[in-house]
Assembly symmetry: C2
Homo-oligomer: 249 residues x 2
């Protein structure tokens, strides 16, 4: 993990890094507690590691909760090139949208493929942080993110027990994801846009229901996934504090 720039404002230290060919950002309190949890922040489809909403939520986690937050560009997003197969799926998705047809087959296949690549990259980020003396091997992790970030986060939570709590939402209950979701056991919250032209409600509920966790909460807001109320992030922050502050021991 190579850090190459650092800025500090309003009590939040922001460091840019690369890990192999994956660029990322780490936000930390100016004076972090030893063992403070780290929240992995997935960005949505077509967005990137410094999308304004993500940065705002990251700063909130650092400033209000004393957590670290880390984001990476997903494959084909932000500073990372999009390969030919991804480009074809993105084109097919745009064509379907223009034709008034369902984008679901294309976006879910694209996101399944991105998840396959992103899960080991997120695990490498956790490895690198835990290997650093600044963090340490027992650092607990949380995960948050909607749409693409949920397609990545659900298999990540199954693959890696270091993630102790997650906030998901805004995705479809497609078969490949339902199968993985059943194996999730950590406490979670699920944000379901209740009036979304593309994220149909029944499919989102099917995904929520499939998640195997005993402790789960759905928050369904009036509006779509582009209009998630900002205060919902505060509610999710408190959930993460409840779950991870205990884990931090």
């Amino acid at each position: 993990m190579q850090f190459f720039s650092e800025t500090t404002s309003d009590g939040v230290v922001e460091r840019s890094f690369t890990l192999g060919d994956v660029p990322g950002v780490l936000w930390s309190p100016v004076s972090a507690e030893a063992g403070a949890p780290v929240i992995l922040m997935g960005h949505g489809g077509s967005l990137h590691k410094r999308a304004p909403g993500l940065v705002s939520r990251a700063v909130g986690l650092v400033a209000s909760c004393g957590f670290h937050a880390v984001a990476i560009d997903m494959p084909g997003h932000g500073e990372r090139p999009r390969d030919a197969a991804d480009r074809a799926l993105v084109e097919a998705m745009h064509a379907a949208r223009r034709a008034g047809e369902s984008i679901v087959p294309f976006v879910t296949e694209l996101n399944r493929s991105i998840a396959e690549r992103a899960v080991p990259q997120w695990r490498a980020v956790m490895d690198a942080l835990q290997a650093s003396p600044e963090f340490g091997a027992s650092t607990p992790f949380g995960y948050t993110g909607m749409t693409l970030a949920t397609a990545v986060g659900v298999p990540l939570a199954v693959a890696d027990a270091r993630i102790r709590a997650a906030v998901f939402g805004g995705f479809w209950g497609v078969p490949w994801l339902l199968a993985v979701a059943a194996r999730v056991t950590i406490p979670l919250e699920f944000i379901q846009p209740w009036d979304d032209a593309e994220l149909d409600r029944e499919s989102g509920i099917a995904l929520f229901d499939a998640l195997g966790s005993a402790q789960k909460l759905m928050r369904a807001h009036s509006g779509d996934h582009r209009h998630v109320p900002t205060w919902l992030a505060d509610d999710s922050n408190r959930f993460l504090v409840r779950e991870l502050r205990g884990a931090a021991g």
Copy 2:
């Protein structure tokens, strides 16, 4: 409004009162701000004005938000006698439950009837508080309560514009209530027990959908209406602060 006892503990003043033949409790900060909002706290079916969960939420509203909170016994509950018609419906409900049949026709009719009587009683409580120099005519109100309290609160919110925000939940989308719900326009939160043998999910969702408010949020927790996570009350408190602190202007 006749006050007849007052105790103070942990910064919360609790006063018992009667208003006509309706007994109630008012919880206030030891040093309340002028114009502080008052939250009307409905109790659930078979419970009463000092049910432990209600008292705990009331104390939280006073201590964390600086609000007042007020509860009354609903008709046929707590210290108030149950009339013959109510008794017959309660008996029919218990008989249905014992027989493994649906309680919904009986409980919803009982609650409709209670709501008819309770709405003017809650309005009289607001009148009495606003007439008191301690509160004043511009005091804003919020409302919270599940099950029976939602059957009462939805028509109350339609009948009285002094209620500016509400937390409902745990009820069925039966025709009489759906019709009233469509006329609700205030911001609201809706608590939907996601795994409840008697409160079926589809019917609860139908009620949430029927509510006419542009700003609404459903929180669906794993578990039933007897196991609402206590931290959901904290989330609802913050909602009430957002909505009513502005109104207190």
